[in-house]
């Protein structure tokens, strides 16, 4: 196997952050996506939505400025920026389901060749099932992007022909950022747009259960040290 270095989680977030344009309204799911806001170009304005009822979510509060009444959907204390607003859950999910968010970034357990996503349950009967807003987020938004490790800890592919975990939704994922590659979900299949330096397409395909297609213009996936 050749010599390549996978991105770390923050580097995956950094890469995803580079694709956010000025003025975008985004929702960052739990897991790797929570780091994205640290790497967005500070020259642009990005509006963060949190489904418990706020637009314009700001960074974690400074010591002494914490407010119990100001939380995100992970029940963490946050802040609000100038221009932000509060609203009820019905309006919050109107935004999500009605297609009013520009990009949704999510973690996932599995993504299929067709863009099916499984990210809310690993089907363990003994665990109390909890779906939250996962299904609403991916169904309403026309630009759903997944950030995840390419493989599980025991080296099974997360990009697979058919999801084996309970589905979140079918055919919704548009783009995937992993520690090894950037991949577009297209009508023709999974198109590899970027590969980490030193990794060949053949090697990536060997690590991936789903069938991949190499983009003619495939670039090197690089991220600064974080």
């Amino acid at each position: 196997m050749s010599n390549f270095k996978p991105l770390n989680k923050k580097q995956i977030a950094w890469r995803a952050a580079q694709d956010i344009a000025d003025g975008c309204v985004v929702n960052l799911g739990i897991g790797i996506p929570t780091f994205i806001s640290d790497y967005v170009n500070p020259e642009i304005e990005v509006i963060y939505h949190t489904e418990n009822g706020m637009l314009g979510m700001g960074p974690a509060p400074k010591r002494g400025e914490e407010d119990f009444y100001l939380q995100n959907a992970s029940k963490e204390l946050v802040t609000i920026v100038k221009g932000g607003s509060y609203f009820d859950s019905a309006l919050s999910f109107t935004m999500m389901r009605g297609g009013h968010l520009d990009i949704v970034f999510l973690g996932a357990f599995q993504v299929s060749e067709e863009g099916d996503i499984a990210n809310w349950s690993i089907g363990e009967k003994s665990m109390v099932p909890s779906v939250g807003g996962a299904m609403d987020l991916v169904v309403g938004c026309s630009d759903v992007r997944v950030l995840m490790q390419h493989c599980t800890k025991d080296n099974r592919s997360r990009l697979i022909k058919r999801c084996t975990y309970p589905l979140t939704a079918k055919k919704v994922v548009k783009k995937i950022y992993t520690d090894l590659a950037v991949i577009d979900v297209t009508p023709h299949g999974l198109l590899v747009k970027e590969l980490v330096e030193g990794l060949s397409f053949g090697e990536l395909q060997n690590l991936t259960e789903a069938k991949l297609i190499l983009d003619n213009n495939c670039k090197i996936l690089k991220a600064p040290a974080t």
Partner: protein
């Protein structure tokens, strides 16, 4: 004269009966009516169905109702959390019935009940286990799931300020499910931090007009103070 204010949590929950469906506001603890829940814990009401986004954190809020064996069934979207050991345990031992619904469908079903609708169609859950047993309809070439209204006999909600007509305003992200739940129960009881004179709330800023609210209870201790410490400690641990 209209005066919806009641003087104690015990009087606030009067007429709630065993086997009632109870809507409870709040995203986690933020916007949950904790003193009204405590009053339920202290009552002899039982076999409740709780309709709430979550199912209690640590041994606080809804967890107390579960520990006191008041709850037969929970309808919610996200019962699990790092500290949800009470519901986790009851679920594993099959001592509680659990119905999990996508969060947007959850609040939309409650809204449909409040708005007098017979149900609606959504794309959320199509092709997943959430669609099991549900009616499917093809609309404009796409597959939708039929969802029914979800109504409470009672709603226990939390707001920031109220007046004697029951007009309510909320505070920051503690608004969440409360304004919609206020529309969807036969008996709507609001726990609030402050009661102000009629006319003090700006008619433009009232979120829940009093017509939806039956009783207003001013909490004994604003829970901001109580929970602030818990959350700030957790926050500072994580961000240090």
């Amino acid at each position: 004269m209209i005066n919806k204010c009641v003087d104690s949590a015990k009087n606030a929950i009067k007429n709630i009966k065993s086997r009632d469906n109870i809507l409870i506001g709040g995203f986690g603890e933020c916007g949950a009516p904790l003193e009204l829940i405590d009053a339920l814990v202290d009552s002899d009401i039982k076999e409740l169905t709780i309709i709430s986004n979550n199912a209690g954190i640590a041994d606080r809020g809804t967890s107390k109702l579960l520990q006191a064996k008041k709850v037969k069934k929970i309808i919610c979207s996200y019962p699990r959390s790092l500290d949800s050991y009470v519901v986790d345990d009851l679920y594993k031992k099959e001592l509680i019935e659990l119905e999990v619904i996508p969060q947007g469908t959850f609040i939309e079903r409650i809204r449909a009940a409040g708005a007098g609708l017979g149900g609606f169609y959504t794309l959320v859950g199509v092709g997943t286990m959430m669609a099991e047993g549900k009616e499917i309809k093809i609309i404009e070439g796409e597959e939708y799931i039929f969802e029914k209204p979800l109504k409470g006999n009672v709603a226990l909600i939390k707001a920031y300020k109220a007046d004697r007509w029951g007009n309510l305003v909320y505070k920051k992200t503690a608004r969440n499910f409360n304004p919609v739940m206020a529309t969807a129960a036969d008996l709507v009881i609001a726990e609030v931090d402050e009661i102000v004179e009629l006319g003090e709330l700006d008619p433009e800023e009232i979120v829940t007009p009093g017509v939806f609210v039956d009783r207003v209870y001013k909490c004994k201790k604003v829970y901001d103070d109580l929970l602030q410490n818990v959350y700030v400690k957790k926050h500072q641990m994580k961000n240090k």
